[in-house]
Symmetry: D3
């Protein structure tokens, strides 16, 4: 090893020390969308970061989506995906497919990747151990959406046991509803979980560089903001449709006492790790 490289390694590792110290023992909820789990490289990058967080003493909890994967299987089964204002219309047959894909495919793909990188992950549906209970919701115009719900209650007992055993929970956004399984928005599920667990941080990995003051103006990327300003941004109507549930989840989590939220570009390799362990922030940070 050349000395300069050794020095560089030492510098970067010691730069991480204050962050490791600060987040020791902290529960951090990370939300990742289905699209970010399709490429092996992106999955490996994400999973390495999560496992590293676990090994330096944090308690990471991953909540994942799976929209593209669900639509894909629906099409293979001859069913056309339908959406109302971004919410998937979910009849009984679609719900069956949602569970098959989220629990049987996406969730297990993440668990297996964690295992390959040395983490002990456990795939969890929101129905396991009564973790998530949902009530039925309609579309913004009162449309009947089927088995689509919003989180009504979180019972984190099962997560607490797993976290104590140093397992990494990987959670699919399915909840027990009044008449069977319900499809819930993964962003909102992550926010509700972070609140119920008293998490110290919630991170949304997206496919944009962060939050913009002016949608479409790359120069207006917000590197730090507050809950108050977010509420104004939400009211202003200048947010993309995909960003709205993230912002609402950030606000939910902060109301429940989570002191820090991040919106990062999940396409940047190791964006999570860089955010957590280095001096430079990436994406948008929200403080109360």
């Amino acid at each position: 090893m050349r000395l300069s490289e050794a020095g560089e390694k030492a510098r970067i590792l010691t730069e991480a020390l204050p962050y490791i110290r600060r987040w020791a023992g902290a529960t951090v909820v990370v939300k990742v969308g289905g699209e970010a789990l399709e490429e092996d490289d992106a999955l490996d990058s994400l999973v390495t970061d999560i496992v590293l967080m676990r090994f330096v003493g944090m308690s990471p909890i991953l909540v994942h989506g799976g929209g593209p994967q669900i639509s894909d299987v629906m099409r293979r089964l001859g069913k056309a995906p339908a959406f109302v204002s971004g919410l998937r219309v979910t009849d009984a047959e679609t719900m069956e497919i949602v569970k098959m894909v989220l629990l049987g495919v996406v969730n297990k793909r993440v668990v297996a990747a964690m295992s390959r990188h040395g983490g002990q992950a456990v795939g969890i549906s929101g129905e396991d151990g009564g973790l998530l209970t949902a009530r039925r919701v309609r579309g913004p115009g009162g449309e009947e959406l089927g088995f689509v719900g919003e989180v009504e209650r979180v019972d984190p007992a099962i997560l607490e046991g797993l976290v104590a055993g140093e397992f990494i929970p990987v959670i699919a956004p399915i909840a027990a509803g009044p008449d069977g399984s319900y499809n819930v928005n993964a962003d909102r599920a992550a926010g509700a979980l972070a609140g119920a667990l008293g998490a110290q941080k919630i991170v949304f990995l997206t496919n944009v560089p962060g939050l913009y003051r002016d949608l479409g103006d790359e120069g207006s990327l917000i590197s730090e903001t507050t809950a108050d300003q977010l509420e104004k941004l939400l009211d202003s109507g200048s947010l993309s449709q995909g960003m709205i549930p993230k912002i609402e989840s950030v606000l939910d989590a902060m109301r429940a006492g989570v002191p820090q939220a991040h919106i990062l570009d999940g396409r940047v390799p190791h964006a999570l790790l860089l955010e957590v362990f280095t001096d430079e922030g990436v994406g948008t940070m929200v403080l109360p």
Copy 2:
């Protein structure tokens, strides 16, 4: 309440006392096939029995199959199920379907039923927390079967945490193999788990009344037998193909120290409860 009915109730409840006492704290592994989970009544009967076992202080662990459900979805996706000596030929696409059906459909159907009857169940794949590791196997004639494996190693840490938290684990027979997820026989998975957990009892719920001395002769039902006699029966060739992995699993579990095994008729309502809590046995009991 008429007095005679009250007396009958008291008699039956007090009859259960010695069994409750004997099995207090015991780990009991129950294996149920996919066909027994199709009818709501049968599922409710099974799940009630398991939840009752949990509430009187036992630690039941359920391992389930899902053969008919897998074949059904394969056909819907235009794929013909194929078998070699009872083992499903499992190419990569089939394996994906196996996971979708077992984890996304069958497993969650059981978890939801437990929840309806007041039990806190947690659905677990053998890949979660490194529970089951498999090696690849071939057919009896050396046939290439794809992602079909046999259990090589059991790491019960995840079950121990869940059982301590009074959750009921519901396990799908999928294992981490050398190159991805593997399909393992649910009977054999149950036997391996019972051995690794030091279970006090393993129960196989089947669709026959029990084990027969002479296949086809209803009068030859065996109510009690030993491991030695089972080995002879296995060598004699007079067992049905479906019974062979059950018998091998019983023998595996007994070699690992499990002191009692049962083969019951899962079609009899509450067969499990009657076996565990009443004087009369049902089906076939095996002692070492």
Copy 3:
């Protein structure tokens, strides 16, 4: 086993499940009078029920009387029992006899019966470990009664240790008084213990079918009532003398937060078990 009988057994056992679930972990104080402990059959019935409660996860605590047995030994020692308004006049010699009979005979007879039915019971005097402290009381007309007291303070530490060790405490109503051992009413001791322990239920086993609206009118048996109505009944003067301390104890316990009380006919075999584990109630239930 005939199928219909199996079905009946399964029906009754599964009927018990919701009750087992509801009372899991609950502390239940049961008071039984001395007369109910004289017959072997009645004792066995009671003790089986208590042991069953313990094995399905409840924490039963038994408080017993012993009036007839004390009077019997007094007569054998040439001493005439005397009472003022139902309270035994207790001089020093009588107190010695009270202790000999309650602790040496009645208490140990119950402990031995528990042991025969598989329960680990421990006989406890209210003087052990400082459990019960009493102050001296006089008769309603100011009569000097000797070593007769009412419970002034309960220190449940000793019971907590025993219950944690899964022992069943069997308690004789003797308390430490200002100048030696005191005789306390077993009903009142049971009520005070239930309050101090935060019990979820208190049950009085009596030799009548329950509480009557009109004393002497069998048709006026009350199956359910409230604390408020009990207070009125107490004021009305229409209660038998033996029932008064039970009613006062129920009211004491409810004021201390015990949410449910029962007055049952201890002469019905397994009355306790039927009350706790079946749909039909027996006797009188009191809610706050």
Copy 4:
């Protein structure tokens, strides 16, 4: 305080330090006969010593007899006490009296005295929690003695819980026998308990100054001896009848690993305290 007296106090207290240190955490079984419990002064002296042992960190366990008290009540009930070779002939009625007197009178007298001196004592019969199980024995000449037994099995679970809670167990020598309660020799019960508990010391408080080499020769008091020499003494026939079960119990306890036994004169005030906490020994010490 005069300085010389202060110095004397300091000298005696610091003399105790090495003994307090040596016996910290040690379980010590103390046996006392019924006659030593009759006088208030002797009882107070004994009980103070035991409470002091508890407060300096030892775990004392007291086993008591009650012969004179039993015989006294028998006579009051018109029954003549009868003995064969020192063993009380115990018919069913006598056994009832034994329990009444030991549990209802003697045991509770000790518990109350402990309480007066600040110790939390708990009276225990050998039948409580399955502590002592006995088999029936006959007299040396094969005489039928009734409910007289010898300890067959000790289950110390109940004592361990009480000792952990810093209670002082006070044990009456009654055991569960094959057909009811049995009378066992208190010396032998103490020896069996010391062995089962892994006690560090067993002390017998007697009404003689110790063990004599020559019975009747006061000058032949043995201050220290070994198990081997005791066996010879036992064979020599020169022991008084009351001393024999003590010696046998010492030998039993030593075979079970108890490393130190003492035979002290219980009539000397605070003999126990002087033995345990001062340089000068009193009575006879036995080492392995």
Copy 5:
């Protein structure tokens, strides 16, 4: 042993019982000055008393000074000790000597003496584990004193771990200051520690018989007083300079909830033991 001596020993040991009981589990902070640690006899007397306190279940914590020893080494190194109103002027070099002497000499001398008398002591600087943090102070006339501080914050975590492990902490009055190690007054450090630990008692061992109403009048020794009266005494100006920080520390500790303080003559052998374990008090006791 003559009987009269045995009786005397028993009398003194049983006299200690109520005190042992009363102080069981209590944290007691003892402050001793450097001069009292110079003579071997005085050190042995003190250390024996502390070890005895530990063995009867108290948690003693010793805080020591070391003024004479520091001045001595300073002189050997050619540096003249200087004081302003009793506070040592402490430049960087002096601070180095203070640490060398307190930590390398005085503290270790006490730890070694504890070890010789069977106690497991651990020497602690106020800088270890962040125990004591100080701010810089000046002399009463605004004089610059160097590294002289007063305790600003106490983090007792390290002491709690040691006390749980039954070690005896021996604490040198050095604290972490804004720019290095600081010298703090040992009396004040003891008072701050007693308050932060919720001690039940604080004892100052001095070289006078106690507190006097009139300085110089031996007959005016105060045997018992209150915090209120102490404040008046402090305002009256009739205290010696060495007594002032003791009185201020007593008042600090009492404000923080310590319910009892003592000022004893450390020159009397075993003064601490006599105060704690006998009926007669020595020196001055302060109650709130």
Copy 6:
């Protein structure tokens, strides 16, 4: 942050992951000589590495020397340091200076540096809590050396409590000897501690690049070797005098079951961190 730098940071942090995982929970003993503690930069580098080890879940324990510092103070006090074969001749006065310097200066300098970098360190002498006991040794030619000893017994109880509390122990090589404090070789103390604690690794930070096959030939640096080869090297006589106790300590530790030892160049910044957390080794590694 430029993307290439972000990538570099991510690469180096993820490179550390397998090492963090491998050493999670491991006890690692680090020995550093007095000379390496003189410069602030070197001290900060070492202390950062140790604190980082603690925060990623390892249990580092530091043992330090202090030779140059001791000699320096001796000279200031007018005493000439003297050595026999590398062992300091230690009369009583020298021993006093050794303790003053090691405990009052060197040890506290390290503790304070840890505190500045966010670690909670506790300075410990081998005499604290009975950690190290030594016997007296003589020089190789039988020379009388005074208070110079070798470690005879290690009682790690005090370290276990501190490590459980997440404190970092910083240990000075002083031991309790037969007649007072003894000076022990810090390398040997580290080896003995590693063995007694069941450490997973021992690291010696020296002022040479590692171990050489041929002393003086820079090209003969050994990067990996075994205990067997070390023994031969020790016998060959080609080791520098300072290296001999290191090698003997490595061999001692390995005999006691420590599976890995390192000899590193403490002058390289963060040599410890690079060895523990990166792919490239530095210095010499010894395996069993």
